[in-house]
């Protein structure tokens, strides 16, 4: 631990808290249809795109209509991406002459990008053409993020609506999310990353001789542009399989810090957008405070844990920080911060090998995801995921003050609780059963590299990451085997891992999303009860603590046995596994 490491965490906190109301206010104006700085430049494009998707007079949709559009759009995206991955051999911009992906791997990859997960069983730099990277992966990085933002806004509208059942028009929201939020920020972000030294090219690979006398191939490509949207939009799929550990993607300490900020920016800003939408900014700040507190708590555990020697280092008699699997160019705090940020947000960008973290340090990324990706979370889905948890906390606490529980003056009744329960338990159930399936059958065992707690952690992490649409990996769990051969001859997917993971990502994305939209539909226009002394306030410190406790207890009660058999057993013993 160093002072500069803590300082970096402190600076991040200050900057993020400063950006949140600014960006959040901007997003609020964009989706309210108000004029913003970019309206003059983008207005015509917006009208044309919106007219194309939604018609000239876009009608408001109720939750079913909105959900239908989301599903239809995502299905089309999925199919298009799947086809691109499967027809790579006939595509342009393929200097390496890569073959098309195996069907099972392509299923996993398409599900990964469309569900805004960014899980990489595939190795981007050694299997995908530049065309597939740009038209397939990067485009879906934009589209799935836009779907997330639009849905988050729609759910917030349902919570805010005093009358009517309409949550907005999906196609209009999608257009606005793309044009006004994601594209401009991604352009700024790419230019910044290029200025720091990230690469952006359509040239082929570079072959060179190393100092040791061997030969090496360096894959090049449109890295910066893809990196920017993957950070901003929570998908997190890097150009390279190794993600931010390569200097081409994460060129400097400053770039690393800004990347962390980019990961957190939109999910954090949406809390401020929400506060403005419901007409009480404190409501938004309460959510932000809970997210930030959990984020800092995770950093406060992981950073000291990673500042100690790992068991392997101890066995070898080494001292100092655990730098195994970390970028030697960066500090331990850089790696830890990125890991905490990328798992808290459903992002999955990493600049370190998480499986080399210490037991305690490694449990934090997992625990972050196990909260259901509500610590900032993915763009949009972090917000509605958090709102589901809010309703859960409101329900239990509301009873304790002797009133039918209400949130924003709206009663939380059986229908809402049913939907919240579905939305909140679906993902944990997927994680538990998929992991159990994988470690107890020979189909699943094929993918597991290590034995003992490390092997268990790899598997648990894989399904936690996929079902929660995070996308970061613990390494060691494989869904793709790739012999070293030109053009990837002989590469094959691991069918069980690819299909199980793909299904986990799709269900983990869309089931909670439907539940959240349904809750929003149910709350929209519900009779509001005037607030008074007897109303439990949801914008106070007491409630924030309660919300934090609810999220932690639900996650802990569900996952403590699993965590004990994985990272915790390693944290409790100096033994090597």
């Amino acid at each position: 631990m160093t002072a500069s490491g803590w300082l970096q965490i402190g600076l991040l906190l200050v900057l993020l808290t400063g950006i949140t109301p600014l960006l959040g206010g901007y997003i609020h104006r964009v989706f309210g249809g108000e004029r913003v700085l970019l309206t003059h430049a983008l207005g015509p494009a917006e009208r044309r795109l919106s007219a194309l998707l939604a018609g000239r007079e876009p009608a408001g949709q109720d939750w079913k209509g909105y959900a239908g559009s989301v599903l239809m759009f995502s299905a089309v995206c999925w199919l298009a991406l799947f086809l691109i991955l499967r027809t790579q051999s006939i595509q342009p911009f393929n200097p390496q002459g890569f073959r098309s992906g195996p069907w099972d791997l392509s299923f996993n990859t398409a599900s990964s990008l469309v569900s805004n997960t960014g899980w990489q069983f595939y190795a981007g730099d050694t299997t995908l053409s530049n065309f597939a990277q740009m038209a397939g992966i990067a485009v879906n990085g934009f589209l799935s993020a836009a779907v997330g933002v639009a849905t988050g806004i729609a759910v917030a509208r349902g919570f805010a609506n005093r009358s009517g059942k309409e949550l907005g028009n999906f196609w209009v929201d999608l257009t606005r999310a793309l044009l006004y939020v994601l594209l401009p920020l991604a352009i700024v972000g790419s230019v910044f990353l290029v200025s720091e030294g990230a690469i952006q090219t359509l040239a082929g690979n570079v072959h060179l001789s190393t100092l040791a006398g061997g030969s090496q191939t360096l894959a090049l490509g449109p890295v910066a542009s893809q990196k920017a949207i993957m950070l901003l939009g929570s998908a997190g799929a890097g150009f390279y399989a190794v993600n931010s550990t390569i200097p081409f993607e994460d060129p400097s300490g400053v770039a690393n810090f800004v990347q962390v900020l980019m990961i957190l920016a939109i999910p954090a800003a949406l809390t401020a957008t929400y506060g403005r939408m419901v007409g009480n900014r404190r409501q938004g700040w309460a959510l932000y405070a809970v997210m930030l507190a959990m984020f800092l708590g995770a950093a406060a555990v992981a950073y000291p844990a990673e500042s100690r020697p790992s068991p392997a280092m101890r066995a070898a008699g080494a001292h100092g920080l655990n730098m195994e699997g970390k970028e030697q160019r960066l500090q331990a705090s850089d790696s830890t911060l990125m890991a905490v940020a990328a798992t808290a947000v459903g992002n999955g960008s990493t600049n370190a090998a998480l499986d080399s973290f210490t037991g305690l340090g490694g449990s934090i990324p997992m625990a972050n995801m196990m909260t259901g990706e509500v610590i900032f979370g993915s763009v949009g889905s972090g917000l509605f995921g958090m709102l589901l948890m809010v309703l859960l906390a409101v329900f239990v606490a509301g009873l304790m003050v002797g009133r039918t529980p209400e949130y924003l003056g709206k009663r939380i009744e059986a229908r809402e609780i049913k939907l919240v329960t579905i939305g909140a338990i679906a993902v944990p159930l997927i994680v538990l059963f998929m992991t159990a399936w994988a470690i107890s059958t020979r189909y699943g065992m094929r993918s597991i590299f290590n034995a003992g707690p490390q092997g268990f952690s790899e598997t648990l992490y894989t399904y936690t990451s996929q079902a929660n649409n995070n996308g970061s990996a613990f390494a060691g769990y494989v869904g793709f085997s790739q012999p070293h051969a030109p053009g990837n001859v002989g590469a094959a997917g691991v069918t069980f891992a690819d299909l199980a993971g793909g299904a986990a990502m799709l269900v983990g994305r869309f089931l909670p999303m439907l539940a959240a939209l349904a809750v929003a539909g149910s709350l929209s226009g519900k009779r509001t009860i005037a607030a008074g002394e007897g109303t439990m306030r949801t914008d106070t410190a007491v409630f924030a603590v309660l919300l934090l406790a609810t999220i932690s207890i639900v996650a802990l009660l569900t996952f403590v046995p699993a965590l004990m058999l994985g990272p915790l057993v390693q944290a409790l013993t100096p033994r090597l596994f």
């Binding site: 606490a397 304790m400 008074g532 007897g534 009660l557 403590v560 004990m564 058999l565």
Partner: protein
């Protein structure tokens, strides 16, 4: 208020039958309605089968070397857990039954004499039948008096021994089956179908026979089922998880873990809490016609209270004599008393009584040529002609009129005093002798004792109050101010009352009100909680969703408290139940994984270090958790039946307090409980 004697929480004559009926409730078809407790029963059955297999020596997988006593103990305590849950419900129902039996005794079959001369059994009466009831007879069914007037003993339903007057027409025409006519003769038109009478409904309510789950109870049930589903998944997947770590977990242990984690505490007590909530209302002589109404009462944030009888004592009373210049105060008191001697209204009586403070005894003036002049709507005065003098008292302008007609002088002070008293919320009466204005009597509404503090409490609970009165706005404002209500409706009519309720509801208020007259019926129906006075008309009783047998409008405040208490008890025990799980994990998981990944030669693996309670042995740890889990249910039964104590605090303070007690307490209590049980099981019994 005459309260039905409250049935104590734990009494032998309730416990004994409950012990038996709790066992009968273990029927799976009945248990299925409560997913949490059904899970317990299925677990208990499986463990029992496992034990039987072990005993008979059949080879069964999944015991992982558990000794038979361990499997048997787990099975036994799981059955006890399910049984305790049923016992809680049975005890709650038993308390209701005791009250129901008393009521049923009154539902004797009485022959009803129809007006057309025929006779039929009271059980066969149909709506529209006209029945004649004479003094000394029981009224055979619920209905409305269409002819006659009678005094009726309603002690059977209200517990109030003083007879009440019931008469055809007006707001006092409803009668209840099972009550007794004490004098005169009435003709009653039956309004209820057989078996649906007030008494029948009351019996069904207190027995909990027709109890339907209330909206919040349903929502909570869904949440608890969801939690149980999660824990079921945790336990099912734990076996393969542990298998990967080469650790075998027996089925009995897994089932024990599931039951320990499932929210059995609240699952077991949920229905008892609901029944007891109804019961607490019945104990206050209030009949809620549905559980939904009780919950709605907890949500109320606006009370509409009638001024008379709720905020003020029944009638105005004279509080001061204010003489005009040139008149002695005693002289005015004397004149006022004389003018009121024949006035039998409560106001008149209070003037006579106040005058006694001036040493004036009540006098008999029947002789001496006294001539009493009664009040008429035309003169708006009353008084007495005595010794050639005309003493009059009456409304200010009536007296002024009277004096001026006799060319008397009206002092300037009169107008000032009249205005001042009216402005303060009083009612001024002027007194004159012949053409001389003597002074003014100040009649005032007397606030009920402690009413101001009560409203203060309500405000802290977040409940605002609106006073309803027929007074003019000026008087109403003064009384409202004095009583400390938040708002008032002056010159109220039923229509304006209804309009006000609608308006407040559209502003997001949950409104409660009381009423008794037929013209209150629309407002009672519109209000979220409408409490009809039992003394009121049948129409009012039908329109409200609660009936107050004591006809005491102040009780609205208690009803709100009972409603809140019901919800708080549920929320508090849910929080307690879930918070308990943390300690149970600390007891069971280290026990299960004690040998996992242990170094060769070492007995305990790394996870054994999590045995923070240093429980004696793995099996003792698991058993202790299960025993705690079972015993906590009967321990909390009295709390569930009594309800968590309600304090009139704001929501934030209440949340903070209950979180500290039931959240934090729920985290700590099981650590202590499980450790103590372990000391007994391991230290004494050697488990």
């Amino acid at each position: 208020m005459n309260r039905r004697p409250r049935v104590g929480v734990i009494r032998v004559e309730i416990i004994l039958p409950a012990l038996a009926s709790a066992a009968g409730k273990l029927r799976p078809t009945r248990m299925m309605h409560n997913p949490v407790m059904f899970t317990v029963e299925v677990g208990a059955t499986l463990t029992t089968l496992l034990w039987l297999a072990q005993v008979t020596g059949a080879s069964v997988g999944g015991t992982s070397g558990d000794p038979t006593w361990f499997t048997a103990s787990i099975a036994g305590w799981l059955w006890l857990t399910a049984y305790f849950g049923n016992l809680a419900e049975a005890v709650a129902e038993g308390r209701g039954k005791a009250q129901a039996d008393a009521l049923r005794g009154m539902r004797t079959d009485t022959p009803a004499r129809l007006r057309d001369g025929t006779t039929k059994s009271s059980a066969e009466l149909l709506p529209g039948d006209l029945v004649e009831v004479l003094a000394g007879e029981l009224i055979p069914g619920d209905g409305t008096i269409v002819e006659g007037i009678a005094s009726v003993d309603e002690a059977a339903v209200t517990g109030e021994s003083a007879p009440v007057v019931r008469a055809a027409g007006g707001d006092r025409s409803a009668v209840t089956g099972g009550t007794r006519v004490l004098s005169d003769r009435i003709v009653v038109e039956i309004t209820q179908h057989p078996g649906e009478s007030f008494l029948d409904r009351m019996i069904a309510l207190v027995e909990g026979a027709q109890r339907r789950k209330t909206p919040n109870e349903i929502a909570l049930g869904i949440l608890l089922a969801g939690l149980t589903l999660i824990f079921l998944s945790v336990v099912i997947t734990l076996r393969p998880f542990a298998g990967f770590a080469h650790t075998a977990i027996s089925i009995a242990t897994l089932i024990a873990l599931l039951v320990a984690l499932a929210p059995t505490t609240i699952g077991a007590l949920l229905s008892a809490i609901g029944i007891a909530g109804m019961d607490r209302l019945v104990a206050r002589n209030v009949l809620a016609l549905s559980g939904r109404a009780v919950e709605a009462a907890g949500d109320v944030n606006l009370l509409m209270l009638d001024k008379t009888g709720t905020i003020t004592l029944g009638n105005r009373q004279a509080t001061a004599f204010i003489p005009m210049p040139g008149t002695e105060e005693r002289e005015l008191a004397d004149a006022a008393q004389l003018a009121s001697l024949a006035d039998e209204t409560p106001e008149g009586r209070s003037i006579v009584i106040l005058a006694k403070r001036y040493g004036l005894r009540e006098r008999e003036l029947g002789d001496a040529g006294a001539h009493f002049v009664p009040f008429t709507a035309e003169t708006r005065m009353s008084g007495v002609d005595l010794d050639g003098h005309e003493l009059r008292k009456g409304a200010g302008d009536a007296i002024v009129d009277h004096v001026q007609r006799r060319s008397g002088r009206v002092p300037a002070e009169l107008d000032r005093e009249l205005g001042r008293i009216a402005g303060d919320g009083g009612t001024p009466l002027a007194v004159c002798r012949d053409e001389v204005v003597l002074g003014v009597i100040d009649l005032r509404d007397i606030l009920k004792e402690g009413i101001h503090r009560r409203f203060e409490e309500l405000r802290r609970m977040g409940v605002k109050t609106v006073m309803i009165t027929g007074d003019n706005p000026r008087t109403a404002a003064a009384i409202a101010h004095e009583a400390g209500v938040d708002d008032f409706l002056a010159e109220a009519t039923p229509e304006r009352k209804l309009a006000l309720i609608r308006q407040r509801q559209s502003e997001g208020r949950i409104v409660a009100m009381t009423g008794d007259g037929t013209n209150d019926a629309p407002a009672l129906a519109q209000a979220d909680v409408g409490v009809a006075m039992n003394s009121g008309t049948q129409a009012a009783r039908e329109a409200g969703n609660m009936v107050d047998l004591d006809s005491d409008p102040t009780k609205l405040i208690e009803i709100v408290e009972v409603g809140k208490q019901l919800l708080i008890t549920r929320g508090a025990l849910t929080t307690f139940s879930i918070a308990n799980d943390v300690a149970k994990y600390f007891a069971i998981l280290p026990a299960v994984f004690v040998a996992t990944y242990a170094s060769v030669g070492a007995g305990n693996g790394p996870l054994g270090r999590l045995n923070v309670m240093s429980l004696g042995s793995p099996r003792s740890a698991i058993l202790s958790a299960i025993v705690y889990n079972a015993l906590i249910i009967p321990t909390l039964v009295p709390l569930a039946l009594r309800g968590v104590r309600y304090r009139p605090l704001g929501a934030s303070a209440l949340l903070y307090r209950n979180l500290a007690i039931y959240g934090l307490g729920g985290l700590i209590a099981p650590f202590v409980g499980i450790k103590l049980i372990d000391l007994l099981l391991h230290g004494v019994l050697g488990a």
